[in-house]
Symmetry: C2
Subunit: 247 residues, 2 copies
């Protein structure tokens, strides 16, 4: 019976109403599928569908075998350009740690050389598939992965330097670049929001209905040459970004 309004939408609206009106709060459990079947007079498939739709909006999270719960939100602050100011990496702090909260852990570091992806090659001003040095890592906060990042460096700058070590030492890779006379002087960050690809969903352990923020940062030295491209994938529900600038 599809009437004027789809049945699953009616159920969905009702459930959303419970949350918006505060009758269900963060962490509370929603009525079970079977309760919905009884209360709203729909089939189990329809009840399930309403729940899936709510999950796809990122409003609730289903825990198999346990129940469906109103989602909790928290936000990690990420401030630019303060995060990248020269004195941070000049003074031996790790820029990578400034990029994520203090209690963040870095895991799954991978370094090496590869053929440059097209977008990275273009940014670095080299031919596509040219070799580049890359650094891949994953940031974890409270046992939850929140960010993936991969940086690419021109081989003529980075090969054989501490950038190719798992631990780049105090100040991170930007300090190394500075020592080499190629200190980053200006940055441009390109942002877009989209739904995650399946591999990103897996690596960041994202619940349904969570978009990711894809940030591609170009770091250039004074002459304008790009000395690093960094692509980051952030759990959209975990971050609040801010950018400050003057008129």
């Amino acid at each position: 019976m599809s009437q004027h309004e789809a049945a699953y939408r009616r159920v969905l609206g009702a459930l959303r109403g419970l949350i918006l009106r505060g009758e269900l709060r963060e962490g509370d459990r929603l009525p079970s599928v079977r309760e919905i079947v009884a209360q709203y007079g729909v089939s189990s498939g329809t009840a399930s569908r309403a729940i899936s739709a709510l999950a796809a909006e990122g409003v609730v999270v289903a825990r198999h075998g346990s129940g469906v719960y109103v989602r909790r939100f928290r936000a990690i602050r990420r401030s630019s350009p303060g995060r990248l100011s020269r004195n941070l990496w000049g003074s031996g702090q790790r820029i990578s740690d400034a990029d994520v909260p203090e209690r963040a852990l870095v895991s799954n570091i991978e370094v090496g050389e590869t053929a440059a992806p097209e977008w990275a090659a273009e940014a670095l001003g080299i031919a596509a598939d040219s070799p580049v040095v890359f650094r891949s890592r994953r940031y974890v906060v409270d046992d939850k992965a929140v960010q993936l990042a991969t940086s690419y460096y021109p081989v003529d700058l980075a090969r054989g330097t501490r950038i190719t070590y798992t631990d780049t030492g105090p100040g991170g890779s930007y300090a190394v670049l500075a020592e080499l006379g190629h200190a980053p002087a200006s940055f441009t960050e390109y942002l877009l929001a989209r739904m995650p690809r399946p591999d990103e969903t897996a690596q960041l352990d994202l619940p349904g209905g969570t978009p990711v923020i894809e940030i591609t940062r170009h770091a250039s030295e004074v002459g304008g040459r790009c000395v690093e491209v960094n692509r980051m994938i952030l759990d959209g529900s975990a971050y609040l970004l801010d950018y400050s600038f003057s008129a």
Copy 2:
């Protein structure tokens, strides 16, 4: 028969494969539900579900009665801080037009006074529910709404000025603020990505699987006082943002 892998996931993966391998390109039509039923030996419900899931990833768009099509992407560039440089609104350009592409149209302008939402009141340094002047508008590109924006101003600054007119004149509201001796000098933009609320889905006419980017901009004059808060909701699939700054 749920086996090791869910049937709808198998279908979903197969369809995604067609697109990733380039056998289906942007704008191409996917196999119909009934074709999928025949080819993969699943029920129509399962086939439909695979399609819904693909749509929820933002990979395809379903057109009722016509077919399911691989989604086309385009991006509107939005550059900061260049967009907000003083000479733009100093020289009679409309800041609002610089915020969106040249061919954008503004529609549904609404101005007036309301009780300040909590977040706006906090930004402006006034009590919640105090009266504020607001300007609401919607930007349309190629008949497609791409952005919603609402600005809030302190009543003691904006009441009775051109800010309360539908047309604020050359230079937009920032030029008016400047004339009044309260020129914005610094900006902070707070960004987050999330799935849209139902009303936003309707107003921006978003296909499923499209996140929105919520930007809250604080504009402050030299003394540090916040003279405008602007909350924008962007169609995530329509925008590529960029921010530039130096070390």
